[in-house]
Symmetry: C2
Subunit: 168 residues, 2 copies
Amino acid sequence: MFDLNDIIKSMKIIAIDPGYERMGVAIIEKTKEKEILVYSECFKTSVKIPHEERLKLIGQEIESLIKKYKPDAMAIETLFFKNNQKTGMKVSEARGVMLYVASCADLEVKEFSPMSIKIAVTGYGMSDKTQVVSMVKRLIKIDQEIKYDDEFDAIAVGLTYFATRGSC
Amino acid sequence: MFDLNDIIKSMKIIAIDPGYERMGVAIIEKTKEKEILVYSECFKTSVKIPHEERLKLIGQEIESLIKKYKPDAMAIETLFFKNNQKTGMKVSEARGVMLYVASCADLEVKEFSPMSIKIAVTGYGMSDKTQVVSMVKRLIKIDQEIKYDDEFDAIAVGLTYFATRGSC
């Protein structure tokens, strides 16, 4: 049987946990053997500037990361909102900018639901934040100190991309 | 008393009725005397292409209209959704792209709720589509034939911008 991993030697993705106040971003490279965390950050925008200005900063940040790291694809979490519709709309607007920048850079885009990410990373769709963080730390080597969960979540999105790639 | 209209001789805006299947766009110029409809269209994207590709086409269309007509500001309708959350999220994503492109082009952005547009154009916040279309036709000279309400709605957004500008 032929194995996709034997053909594609190395692949790089940009993984995103979307948000307009805080956005988690991770650049992950998959070699034949393992996933390597190339870069990650929690990108923040100030509540003091107009919403469209925050969207501009978000889009420009992703654009510059794509230019720097040249990923082949974008993995991004879908939105599941139940309570605050206004916040949900604003996050959707930010997600729109992320998808737009990816599409303009000709990246393949894969979207993952919060539940599918939890299943891929922890094996259980109802796992909590702590369990996700703990599993992410076991699955990939992280050298820097991470302060915000958004950054861990972005790494989890990226790991989900590679975990589900073979089966797609 | 000094009148703002005496100082600003002419101003041009791009007005948008947001959507990802159909987006209404109008370029309206306000001279000292009246509003002139410079251009309008209903921009459609195909359901057959991926969502992020549709967002790309939407963003590129607005970018090219801004480049061609050089508006000073963008007027855009806010989203009010009650039923289909999935559609609401997709329209929000498209709106995000529109705000992003405007912000990158350094346009001032003004958002108007569906109700404020109805009040500005028809004088009544609960007016229906037909009343809005009928009033738009009376308020501004339209030379071309308009097939879709989205295009009339975009013109209504633009008229709202100018109607409320003095009072802002």
